[in-house]
Subunit: 340 residues, 2 copies
DNA sequence: AAGAGCATTGACAACGTTGACACAAGTAAA
DNA sequence: TTTACTTGTGTCAACGTTGTCAATGCTCTT
């Protein structure tokens, strides 16, 4: 049995296929009686408008989510956020994992735009930091939304969802300072990592504002991994003046640090407070549960999707404004007042 | 500047647009000289065939990956496997997260099939176990491939990729028995979870084959989470006759068990061996690194994708056969010979 | 040299939809 | 009563491809 087309419905309802099209698209100027008849026929034949033909006459109903991120939790949260918005609006999501070190991304995306497969693109770091890429995509008529770390959008090229890492780092540090900690180690400094830079900046800012100095040796370089977290914690715990708290740049580092603390017979948080960043599953899969910063990835992604869809619908880049997201401290069990 | 169409290319090259179509589709019977001219024009105009129009005349070039799984690592690995295959074959992936408890899945997918958005579907557990759903989708002309746990495909409805959990459970248990363990606890029995059932079956089989009995009290019910792992380990460690090894049904459980062992001042693996299952990032993000079973999710997914694509291309369900995957033990540092 | 056969190319319809426009009938304004 | 506008409906072209078939010209038989 072939799939029914609009013409089959029209024949059954005894009207022209254009009238059926009108009913399907909820256009005005269809009499109640006819509309009813048509809807009846649609149900009877189980008719589904052909999405492809539709796209051909209108614009693409798909957007691409481009990522280059080893953190599957992050990707899935973003992805789910985008999808939830797409479902609401009747759009489709095409995912595009990539390697940001490859020059191919731009061309691949351009090809998808050019072939009408997608109309919009959501870019995450570090791709979203690549100004050339954005400009190139824009020149190809893509609607682009970027998710970036930073207090403010860096330019006016395309709308940006900026996540305020400085503020988050500031809040978290302030929380630790208020608990009474004075010697806080920062684990996970990474010069080429925007988020890391923002978080240290907030870390410093909080100290300055409180009129406190901090030991530069307490800022440790490292990767965003469990193992690097163990290494960095090892360094820090071996120092003559051991910190009373550890600010880990993400939850994996924090989990590694917690583990290393235990290996050194230190209880968390009684002997040493350790906080994370991201509120990933890790945060509740380690013991104690991590006090951390919640990054509302799902919401950010959903907002980004809503923006691109808006831009695609109105065919205008300037229909939406950039938007900032501030992150909040989630208090759990891995930090407390320092022991005297 | 509008996107160039096949007709623009034809005009520039001074041939009919049908000839251009032939060149683009690499059809035979085009003279070298003409082909060259056309390719030149294509490059000059930066022409991209309109994917949508193409789909309308042929069949859909998209397949759906349907999942209902809280494990983001699993989802991402599958997803990446499918995409890698899609890229090679010029297909597109549409992801469809869902709630298997909802009755909507079938209708949603049927709508996507009906509207020509997708042609094939890859189903993962527990959705793939739902025979009604499969039958329904098949009746809607979908090409379906299922990924299931089990030694053999349960029916001939649609091709199945079956992962042999019994064999894997068997191998892992055998490994522990060969190390010399005689009291092994099984953490994570779950009556409605096919994989879990298979793994226990292998666990029992290995004992039987070795002519050994096992303590039924050592088979503990629980969820596939870190916290449940802690709970179950707690139960088992409190038993009068403490096991010398723990068979955890997945890596999260194992990580929870490792943690609980440490809380009880037991060294892993010296005092107690703990093995995982799945070889997720968890396995190397806990200390010691977990001896576990590797599940080649990426390969399984890629194979599944290749199958669906084959079925879509030839428009025949019987063009591919079901396929079994056997899993292998990955030896790391969390299991050793029992102390005497 | 003439017909058969093949390689090359083009004209045209078709896919299933939407948009532009036409037309008939009904309704309000003159 | 005529005019003009509104409402409901239909006809047809168009979107950018691919499939069908016909036309051309060439080579190969005999």
């Amino acid at each position: 049995m072939k799939k029914p087309t609009i013409k089959d419905v029209a024949k059954l309802a005894g009207v022209s296929f254009k009238t059926v099209s009108r009913v399907v698209n909820q256009e005005p100027n269809v009499s109640e009686s006819v509309k009813e008849k048509v809807l009846e026929s649609i149900k009877q034949l189980n008719y589904q408008p052909n999405h492809t033909a539709r796209v051909m006459r209108k614009a693409p109903f798909s957007l691409a989510f481009v990522y280059d991120n080893p953190n599957s939790h992050y990707v899935i949260e973003m992805q789910n956020g985008i999808i939830s918005e797409c479902r609401k609006k009747g759009f489709e999501l095409v995912i595009h994992p990539t390697d940001s070190h490859s020059d191919e991304v731009g061309n691949e995306l351009a090809a998808m735009i050019g072939s009408n497969q997608i109309g919009g693109i959501i870019l995450t770091p570090p791709l979203s930091e690549n100004k050339e890429l954005v400009t190139f995509l824009l020149s190809r008529d893509a609607k682009v939304v970027r998710i970036l770390s930073g207090e403010q959008p860096p330019d006016k090229l395309a709308p940006v969802l900026h996540v305020d890492d400085v503020d988050a780092g500031f809040k978290m540090t302030q929380y630790l300072l208020e608990l009474g900690h004075r010697d806080i180690a920062f684990l996970g400094f990474h010069a080429s990592h925007e988020s890391s830079l923002g978080r240290v900046r907030g870390f410093k800012k909080a100290h300055e504002l409180a009129g406190l100095s901090f030991d530069k040796n307490f800022i440790i370089d490292g990767e965003f991994t469990f193992e690097s977290g163990m290494d960095m914690a090892k360094q820090v715990l071996a120092m003559p003046k051991r910190p009373s708290a550890i600010f880990a740049c993400n939850d994996e580092i924090a989990a590694g640090a917690v583990f290393m603390a235990r290996l050194n017979d230190l209880k968390v948080p009684e002997d040493i407070s350790i906080i994370g960043f991201e509120n990933s599953p890790f945060a509740t899969q380690t013991w104690p549960h991590l006090t951390t910063i919640d990054q509302p990835n799902f919401d950010i992604a959903a907002t980004a999707a809503a923006m691109v869809i808006e831009m695609m619908k109105s065919n205008d880049v300037h229909v939406v404004d950039s938007k900032g997201f501030s992150l909040e401290v989630v208090i759990r069990d891995s930090a407390c007042k320092p022991s005297l």
